[in-house]
Amino acid sequence: MTITFNSKIPAGAIGDKWATYKEDAKLVAPGNKRKFKVIVVGTGLAGASAAATMAELGYQVDVFTFHDSPRRAHSIAAQGGINAAKNYQGDGDSVHRLFYDTIKGGDFRSRESNVHRLAEVSVNIIDQMVAQGVPFAREYGGLLDNRSFGGAQVSRTFYARGQTGQQLLLGAYQQLARQIGLGNVRMFNRTELVDVVTVDDRCAGIVTRDLVNGEVVSHAAHAVVMATGGYGNVFYLSTNAMACNVTAAWRAHRKGAAFANPCYTQIHPTCIPQSDPTQSKLTLMSESLRNDGRVWVPTNADESRSADQVPEAERDYILERLYPSYGNLAPRDVSSRAAKRAVDAGLGVGPLKNGVYLDFSDAVNRLGKDVVEERYGNLFQMYERIAGENPYDVPMRIYPATHYTMGGLWVDYELMTNIPGLYAAGEANFSDHGANRLGASALMQGLADGYFVLPYTIGNYLAPMLNKPIPGTDHPAFKEAELAAAARYQGYVDIKGSRSPDYFHREVGRIIWDYCGMERTQQGLEKALSELPALYEEFQKDLRVTGDAESMNQTLEKAGRVDDFFQLGMLMCRDALEREESCGGHFRAEYQTDEGEALRNDEDFAHVAAWEWTGDPTKSVRHSEELNFEAIHLATRSYK
């Protein structure tokens, strides 16, 4: 397949593009919609909202998730909130400001047209979710409350205690459940996508593996939506859930879908530091805590007193000092690097000296314990359960951890990958956040994609296919993919080596974190690119999966996912190596200002890198899509 990158951006002024697109898009008449089968993989915010809406419109929808219920998708874990340009606080917010903040936050590496549309539909999301019964936080007068998040100077974040993702996902899940109950959606739980099938350069369907009995089966459709989340677990330790993985996107990539900007990964500044080597994941403490918590480290590396004994003069409030206008709400990449530098300089706190303080004592004095509890009670509880310390008395200790991946499947304005008929939505695509995502914008993007974009754009593709036959699952391409998938899983069982998938996952994760994490260098990336293939070879020879491929086998599931992480990891390092600039979450030590801030190279890198699979994970081919900034001028991102 030759790759063509047509971003299909509609003509016209930035504010008119989406309206123009919708006016011009081809439609499928209501009575004809049931003649189309659409597959949605994933039931997070993006997948559940897309599936429910398309089923409401009348399409036949088949939905797949590896979870035991659609309600478990990782969106459930989002804590802090969701942005929308409602301007309910009358503090000067607008669609344009949200658009601007998102482009700037993304360090001018995202596509203007997509981001503007996102800002436009953000307001509809809140209306939709409230109509569905999402119990957002309210003021005493009964109106909706807002808070601020990093990278914004307005309060546009809607929230439901510290469980915004849970409440939004339950809203979307319930809407999906209604469609399942009505028979408009067929739901396949505990079923993992293991391949994508193309026929005549068009996506014809998918191949899945039933996790309970190992059965490999094909499903044909007119269109397929990947709403399969991000790939942060390539780092092994991250804030993602244990089962989050890249397999769906990666298998699509191997079938010809370009993978864009894999090196754009986000490190979240406020996570609980690792406490011992058996640790399986890191826990996020919501960014909202930075509204009232102050980040500091002692000025003396040998400080041994408890936090409350350290006098003001011997504390360095690093973010307030470095970024006076945003203070503790500086964006994530900027805040993370500040913490890393403090710890690298030996100023870290806690038994392993691997964190910085996030201190609430001022907030408790100013607002009273009750108000602090009302705002953050459940987060404080969670912290205490994990760290064994009470944050009302002792400052929290935090450290950055991998949290989100901006890179993903390349999509055009319609959210279609370069494979016709294959779409990507939510965190799985690369679309809206450029090189860095602002807090509370992932939930917004997932729901924007699923509720307000895909249901429009998919009709434009389907309309001309009315009454034309599509290849069924008896087509040789499906049979071939089924055999290959079954052989792949049997293959892992047959290696009979000595090391578990977890062992290899930890090792890949360590390499990626060390060399392709918060700070990257040419030398380090080259080292990673020599270590990874060697380790991958060991994986292929020495993996051990006990049990068989015909029954519930969690070790086998893991093996397939780790295999794909290896291949993705190599691509991430290549991408990071070839992007000779620093931007957002991609910080190359060679490219920084005298003050240690990211130094972009707009001349050579104001583009999206879209990678083509060649069959060898170390030899992917780099393509690029130029980014044109018409509505906003390229500027240096400053939060001083």
Partner: protein
Amino acid sequence: MSNHLKNLKLKIWRQSGPTDSGHFENYVMDEISDEASFLEMLDVLNEGLIGENKLPVVFDHDCREGICGTCSLMINGQAHGPERSTATCQLHMRKFKSGDEIVIEPWRASAFPIIKDLMVDRSAFDRIIESGGFITAPTGGAPDANLIPIPKTVADAAMDASQCIGCGACVAACPNGAANLFTGAKIAHLNLLPQGQAERFKRTEAMVETMDEYFGSCTNHGECEAACPKEISIDVIALMNKDYRQSKLKNRKEISRT
């Protein structure tokens, strides 16, 4: 600083599939950090089993932050173990001491058939939601979100109920295997809100009757509330019962609520 627990005696339920009768197997965990979570302790056990070429213990888990509701486990006869309002994944080994015997079993309830070892099938919960656990509001056309003010106390009460993570501990803890806390929580969440009024009685009737198809009946033991990691109050059951009684009357007369 972390301490280490030594010589834990684990007694774990192993069952190869739904039709196998299953049995307990004994394992010894020589040493584990008290900073480890309970599930990380099982991870260590499983790594060891793979090392010995044996089958690791199958158990459900995902977020490990107490929010997705995927983890389960009866630990020493208690759903989600000894720590109150804490899901298994948030339970840490500092709650145990060296030499302890820990008995680990799956949720036991006829509505939750065992898939393998400690993993059960909770899809009956999805059936309850599908029957009415939603507000019908198709995408598009929703009015402005601030059009209907909702008193903070009402929004907060709805939020208290909607925190349910769908884990099933309430069912596992109940001597009758009843799902009243789970169902009541969803009914309370939606029935308390102004947006939920239009379908209030239809919803309640459908959900309660679907629940009754799969689960046992409630005899007010209150074990569910004690086991619930989200502290869902048993009051939601009272609200559900009240609305159910009313729905029988209202729905029969086909009076839609005004």
